[in-house]
């Protein structure tokens, strides 16, 4: 398994091996799926759209519907304008969405299609919308694309009417529907009226009803996006995924925002609740306080199994950083943090985290890949690996317990329904981690050390 990976360091500047990121458009597609009755549209070769739909479907085990401009060699030479025009006509005609959300691809970006101009030239039916975002695959990652798409919804649609509507805009970041549900549940418990954008709950974790719905019940409505301009404030989770939309809303409609880390773990969920409390100015309800206390209780109970355990975490930057802080709260050492997404902010934030908790010997890398992470692990081993499916090869090669968390998880089920965020998500993540470590103890120990009580 991965026999070619050796521990000896080797500086690479060309080859990316076993990436920990993918390209912008898939993120934009996921974001657009979180808008109700929206057709995500990939402006490029149809293979992009197929790949992205495939990947989202494999992670969520639910249909990921999107259309494509189906570029041919001709369009690549002469520009994709007519493709987009035809596509828009057909999409509104056949699939009748409320809104088409176009994202570009490396193809249309390289040939320089001016989407603003193209869309202005399209005859959009009354009451329908068409927006776009630029998602060149050769910049950033799927997280950038997600962020760009959310920001573009706002830039296109949100309007400030001059008076606030008392709602808080919530930008959940690139998380699962189960996480979005949990973020909303907390806001509801705190009594904060909100609009979440995007909201893939009900879309990418939709129930079996015996009837396929091209546009399932979930998703932020266009009206809600428009009214985001009247939000009292906004909460943005994750610098990488959500700063851009929060900034866009701030710029366009003067809605102030709190940029928070993804609310995984105690401290980061606390931050979310404090931000909500700043809005309501009322007491935190017992239920949340109880959940918090339960999570603290659990972490104290499990500390003999987690303390000082070395963990490698890879995945999306906001997710990795928040999991890392939760690990630190559990007394674990987030030995290696790797994201494929580029951005110095990741490494800075990681360093701040290490020094906040006073841990040494941990390292973080943005724009990294799993080959290098694996080299690090070979150089100095870890007790646990956390990340998406692609980590399974390393886990098997090095015989390390592996907890699947983040995106993409394409070899397991059910994960997208259940949260990692919030105190409840913390219980779930703590259980996964503890079970992984304890199962390993039970597997590896001598027969006389196989314990009934642990």
């Amino acid at each position: 398994m991965l026999d070619y990976t050796k521990k000896e360091a080797y500086e690479r500047s060309g080859l990316k091996i076993n990436p920990a990121k993918t390209c912008q458009p898939v993120g934009a597609m996921y974001a657009a799926l979180g808008v109700h009755a929206c057709m995500p549209h990939s402006h490029g070769s149809q293979g992009c759209c197929a790949f992205h739909r495939m990947f989202l479907t494999r992670h969520f085990k639910d249909p990921a519907m999107a259309s494509s401009s189906s570029f041919t060699e001709g369009s690549s030479v002469f520009g994709g304008g007519s493709n987009l025009k035809t596509a828009a006509k057909n999409i509104f005609q056949i699939y009748d969405p409320k809104i088409i959300a176009v994202h570009t691809t490396c193809l249309s970006e390289t040939i320089g299609d001016d989407l603003n101009a193209l869309i202005q030239g399209i005859d959009i039916p009354d009451g329908k919308y068409m927006v776009h975002t630029n998602t060149p695959s050769y910049k950033g990652s799927h997280i950038t694309g997600f962020s760009n798409m959310v920001a573009s919804f706002i830039q296109y649609l949100s309007v400030s009417s001059g008076k606030t509507n008392g709602k808080t805009a919530i930008f959940p970041g690139f998380v699962n529907p189960g996480d979005m549900r949990e973020i909303k549940r907390i806001a509801e418990l705190m009594g904060v009226p909100y609009t979440m954008l995007p909201d893939t709950s009900g879309v990418m974790d939709s129930p079996m009803t015996g009837k396929f719905m091209l546009y399932p019940k979930g998703g932020t409505t266009v009206e809600e996006i428009i009214q985001l301009g009247d939000s009292t404030s906004s909460i943005a989770f994750g610098k990488f995924a959500s700063e851009a939309p929060a900034e866009a809303l701030s710029k366009k409609c003067r809605v102030n925002y709190d940029l928070l880390p993804l609310p995984i773990g105690i401290g980061r969920t606390d931050e979310y609740i404090l931000a909500l409390q700043k809005i309501t100015k009322s007491e935190v309800p017992d239920q949340l306080e109880e959940e918090r206390g339960q999570l603290v209780d659990i972490l104290i109970d499990i500390h003999p199994y987690t303390y000082n355990k070395k963990v490698a975490v890879f995945g999306d930057p906001d997710t990795v950083l928040s999991i890392a802080e939760f690990l630190l709260e559990m007394g674990m050492l987030p030995k290696y943090l790797v994201t494929g997404t580029p951005g110095d902010a990741f490494e800075q934030a990681a360093e701040e985290l290490f020094s906040k908790f006073g841990v040494v010997g941990c390292k973080a890398k943005a724009a990294g890949d799993l080959f290098e992470l694996h080299q690090w692990i070979k150089e100095e081993g870890v007790d646990l690996l956390i990340g998406g499916t692609h980590g399974k090869y390393i886990a098997r090669a090095e015989d390390i317990p592996f907890v699947r968390a983040g995106f993409p998880i394409i070899d397991r089920y059910i994960h997208s329904y259940l949260p990692l965020v919030g105190y409840k998500g913390g219980m779930r993540l703590a259980e996964m981690i503890t079970n992984a470590l304890m199962d390993r103890m039970d597997r590896d120990c001598a027969e006389e050390d196989f314990e009934m009580v642990m």
Partner: protein, 532 residues
């Protein structure tokens, strides 16, 4: 035609006209079942098709275990095609296997602006340093063609610089109209730079190439097992589980077996032209189909002992599965199926379904050409369009040294006339009148046809799998076998039957409707008071 009309109704005239040509009610049309295929998808239509890169890298080249395949472009294309097709390959002693890895030049904005060749060269150097591969493939993605990187020049440079084999594939995603273009491009380079280079000793005159078999779920291994059991030597498999070395020797076989006609027919033909080896369309999917295939192959070789051994093996394998086949046929008889897969399986699997008593009422290909539907007899009548013309079509000449005939020209011509070799009859001849054949079946049509035809099972891919299932119809992926397999030959038929039966009979289906949906609330309240 009522069903098709009802589906087409929603389209505006332009789309209507286009899509009408792709939808055939078999035996019930004025057009002798002619179908439009291998033409561009209309923008905005939700097609399930992929791109040229997917066909080249994903389908044909991906399975070659020891080709160090660098995707030259932004990260996505390499990432999506990393481990996502189930072309299995064993790492054998002395062979490389890079299938657990994903290699990309991960082009950045500056590379797009200033050109990516430098980064590609750098990547090759790093690949050589870290992996010492004997062969490097370079596959380009959309922007590479546009920015004008000369990957072929880089390949030549690498061969010289590192003394390795390096082949470039200009398989930018926008080329052609589907994955099909990519197959062709891959075929071209393999015949140019790989096939014919080997000098492995072939010990057995009953030697075959297995073309268009990508070892999804282990199909290739099972087919090889069966062929070897009868007494064949499998010289090469294109390309499932193969090493470059295997492929290099393809010119030494005495017959090419073509499983997936669509993706590999170029190589099949060019091998024949260049090396004299005829090809035979085979089908190892389905019990009857496998028997027929084995008998056809034996007939080609014409050896009485081989023929006897073929019958003996068939009997033995049949005996092993008889009880199970009967059991599953009992479970599946009378069910109906719709199939929409690639460029061969929609046809192949009808045979297996028939073995199980399942009636295929709708079938379509994602990226096939007309001959895959109608048979190679339509080849002379297929019009080339701009999209197709752009895909290079190469011609080869006989290789005087390596050209060899197993049968006499006379015998070959007889077999050609019998359509035993060098012929594919297409799908439609195996479909009953009144069933439907649809090319490039798109999302809207899928939804409507499933509603109209109500098949018990929809065989398709991951993108539409859950569309079907949400509407209460079992769907199984026939691209990736839903992570099961092998499905081919005798034993595989049982795996398939088991998987389909479990899908149909899985109890969860009976819970789709909540009981309170069917049992009305007996008493209602109105304004807080009981009304009855």
């Amino acid at each position: 035609m009522k069903t098709i009309h009802k589906v087409l109704e929603k389209y505006d005239s332009k789309v209507y006209k286009n899509r009408k040509e792709h939808m055939v009610e078999v035996g019930n049309n004025d057009n002798n079942n002619e179908i439009a295929a291998n033409v561009r998808t209309i923008p905005g239509i939700i097609t399930q098709r992929g791109c040229c890169y997917a066909g080249c890298k994903g389908v044909v080249l991906g399975p070659i275990k020891d080709a160090f395949l660098i995707t030259h472009g932004p990260i996505g294309c390499a990432f999506y095609s990393w481990g996502t097709r189930r072309h299995k390959a064993r790492k054998e002693e002395g062979e490389d296997n890079y299938l657990q890895y994903c290699f990309s030049t991960d082009l950045q904005e500056s590379d797009i602006v200033f050109g990516g060749e430098k980064k590609l060269k750098q990547s090759i150097q790093e690949a050589v340093d870290l992996f010492h591969p004997s062969t490097i493939f370079i596959c380009s993605t959309c922007p590479v063609g546009l920015i004008g990187d000369d990957i072929h020049a880089v390949a030549k440079w690498a061969e010289k610089e590192y003394g390795i084999k390096c082949i470039a594939f200009s398989c930018e995603g926008y080329k052609g109209v589907s994955q099909s273009a990519g197959h062709h491009i891959a075929n071209n380079q393999l015949i140019r730079y790989v096939i014919g280079e080997g000098d492995r000793e072939i010990k057995n005159k009953f030697s075959v190439n297995l073309l268009g078999e990508y070892n999804i779920g282990g199909d290739g291994w099972e087919t090889e097992r069966l062929l070897k059991r009868i007494g064949y030597e499998v010289v090469s498999t294109f390309t499932g589980g193969s090493s470059i070395e295997d492929l290099k020797n393809a010119h030494k076989a005495n017959l090419s077996l073509v499983q997936c006609h669509r993706s590999i027919n170029y190589i099949a033909e060019m091998i024949e032209t260049k090396y004299g080896i005829p090809w035979m369309k085979v089908n190892f999917i389905g019990v009857d189909a496998t028997m027929k295939t084995l008998r056809d192959i034996a007939k080609y070789f014409g050896d009485p002992e081989l023929i006897a051994r073929t019958e003996a093996v068939i009997s033995e394998e049949l005996l092993q599965i008889a009880e199970y086949m009967e059991y599953y046929r009992g479970k599946l008889k009378g069910k109906t199926a719709a199939i929409y897969v690639g460029g061969s399986r929609a046809h192949h699997y009808q045979a297996l379904l028939k073995d199980l008593g399942v009636h295929t009422i709708l079938a379509g290909y994602e990226f096939a050409h007309r001959e895959d539907y109608e048979g190679r007899e339509v080849l002379p009548f297929i019009k080339m369009d701009a999209d197709n013309k752009n895909i290079e079509s190469i011609t080869v000449e006989p290789d005087i040294e390596k050209y060899h005939l197993y049968l006499s020209e006379e015998d070959l011509n007889r077999l050609r006339e019998e359509k035993l070799i060098d012929y594919y009859e297409g799908m439609v001849k195996d479909m009953e009148n009144g069933t439907f054949m649809v090319d490039d079946l798109n999302h809207y049509e899928t939804e409507e046809l499933l509603k109209a035809l109500k098949p018990d099972i929809f065989f398709s891919g991951i993108k539409d799998k859950f569309v079907a299932q949400k509407s209460g119809i079992l769907s199984r992926q026939l691209h990736s076998y839903d992570y099961s397999g092998p499905y081919c030959c005798f034993r595989g038929a049982i795996n398939f039957a088991r998987d389909v039966a479990m899908g149909i009979y899985t109890p969860a289906w009976s819970y789709v409707k909540a009981p309170w949906k069917t049992a009305p609330i007996l008493e209602g309240t109105l304004g807080g008071e009981a009304v009855c």
